[in-house]
């Protein structure tokens, strides 16, 4: 897993463990992420929204899709062709492989091997997220996530913007014991902060725990707390709830997060690879339909009408060179 993993973690700054008296966050909900098809028909695992972790529990997050890890055969790789978004942000973090993207404002680029693309859809944008031709032709390893972060009502109409968070600039710190690596993609962890700018207080971390490692970190009291196992196995919370790949967890109130890796975590890295998410809940009404997330049904209808009429943006002519039909 090339998602920026230094050979030595001992040289990294260490995140101090919270005091023993601090309240630990207990596991409240667990979900085995169901599999479904997205985009052009590629499989994802979606821990939320789900029956166990709904919009209320995930707030300010809306959706998490886990893509892979999968070894594509030649001709097998698929992506998400041109589609609109309005009212929220998409965060695409690619651990292995590469994804190419274009948008209706003329932007574009690739996300690969530890890069993150933080896209504020805001008032509306059209984009695509596709495997590059080379990956389709030859096949190869692909592993990533897409997270949707809600925008408050006051920011739903903010102009679209991109942040390309290069893997070389991800903030890396180690646990106090030195047996866990934390990549801070956005937000704060103790005195450290990630490079991604967020509209509301949000923290996104990819943690790697060595076998038998125990990670205990401070977590803001005002934040919610979610964890999702990318690969490997271990436990979450002070009661040691067992988790493995594809499981999502919602934790309760408190000021500390605790997790451990099993003695021999399965998976390609032989570590517990876990995504940690937290943010201040927006506590606003949510109206959601497909790629639109607003506050009311009328705003969803407006989004659909704007998309259907072309007012949300159009596909740049230069990326429509390949006809799909005779």
């Amino acid at each position: 897993m090339p998602a920026v993993t230094p050979e030595r973690w001992t040289d990294l700054p260490r995140v101090k463990e919270p005091d023993a008296a601090v309240t630990e966050r207990q596991v409240e909900h667990i979900v085995h992420a169901p599999s479904l098809l997205e985009g052009a028909g590629f499989p994802v695992r979606r821990p939320f929204p789900s029956r166990e972790i709904g919009f209320r529990e995930a707030d300010p997050f809306l959706l998490l899709d886990h893509m892979g890890a999968v070894e594509y055969a030649p001709g097998e790789a698929k992506g998400a062709p041109w589609h609109p978004h309005r009212g929220f942000e998409t965060v695409t973090y690619i651990m292995d492989g590469v994804m190419a993207h274009h948008d209706s404002q003329g932007g574009g680029g690739v996300i690969q091997n530890g890069d993150t693309q933080w896209m504020t859809a805001g008032s509306g944008i059209l984009h695509d997220e596709m495997p590059p031709e080379e990956l389709v032709r030859t096949g190869g390893l692909f592993h990533g996530i897409q997270l949707w972060v809600n925008l408050p009502q006051s920011l739903k109409w903010t102009p679209p913007r991109y942040q390309s968070l290069d893997s070389q600039h991800v903030t890396m710190v180690a646990s106090e014991r030195g047996d866990a690596l934390l990549r801070i993609i956005a937000g704060e962890l103790g005195p450290y902060h990630g490079s991604g700018a967020t509209w509301t207080p949000v923290t996104v971390i990819h943690a790697s725990l060595e076998p038998n490692a125990r990670l205990r970190i401070p977590w803001p009291k005002a934040f919610n707390a979610l964890a999702y196992v990318l690969t490997g196995s271990g436990t979450v919370g002070p009661a040691g709830v067992m988790v493995h790949e594809g499981m999502g967890v919602k934790l309760g109130d408190g000021e500390a997060l605790t997790m451990t890796a099993s003695a021999s975590p399965e998976g390609p890295t032989h570590r517990l690879e876990i995504l940690l998410l937290g943010g201040e809940p927006l506590r606003e009404p949510i109206a959601s339909y497909g790629p639109f997330v607003m506050n009311t049904h009328a705003e969803i209808v407006e989004a659909f009408e704007d998309y259907q009429s072309g007012r949300m943006g159009t596909i740049p002519a230069e990326v429509m060179e390949t006809p799909d039909e005779p």
Binding site: P81, F304, Y307, M320
Partner: protein, 85 residues
């Protein structure tokens, strides 16, 4: 039960689909396959019943893949027929 139940009726003409749409509501087709180079294009309504109803169509990524979504802007129930992309 057909996998298309509740997701539109496949007509006698290949790929022709009819969706029922409640007033001021959405309805969606079953997912349709897309190949390399596909991009969304306008979807023409081949027929709307009643003819006075105002229904718009567009392809959207939904759970399960890309689907055709219809929205009925009228105060009466309607059905719309179109050709699947």
């Amino acid at each position: 039960m057909s996998p298309d139940a509740g997701r539109g009726t496949v007509g006698s003409l290949e790929r022709e689909v009819t969706l029922k749409v409640s007033p001021h509501n959405f309805s969606q087709s079953r997912p349709f396959p897309i190949g390399p180079g596909w991009y969304p294009r306008a979807i023409e309504a081949l027929g709307i019943s009643p003819p006075t109803a105002d229904v718009i169509l567009a392809p959207l990524p939904m759970r399960g893949g890309m689907r055709v979504v219809a929205y009925n802007r009228s105060d009466v129930p309607a059905s719309v027929t179109f050709r699947m992309p």
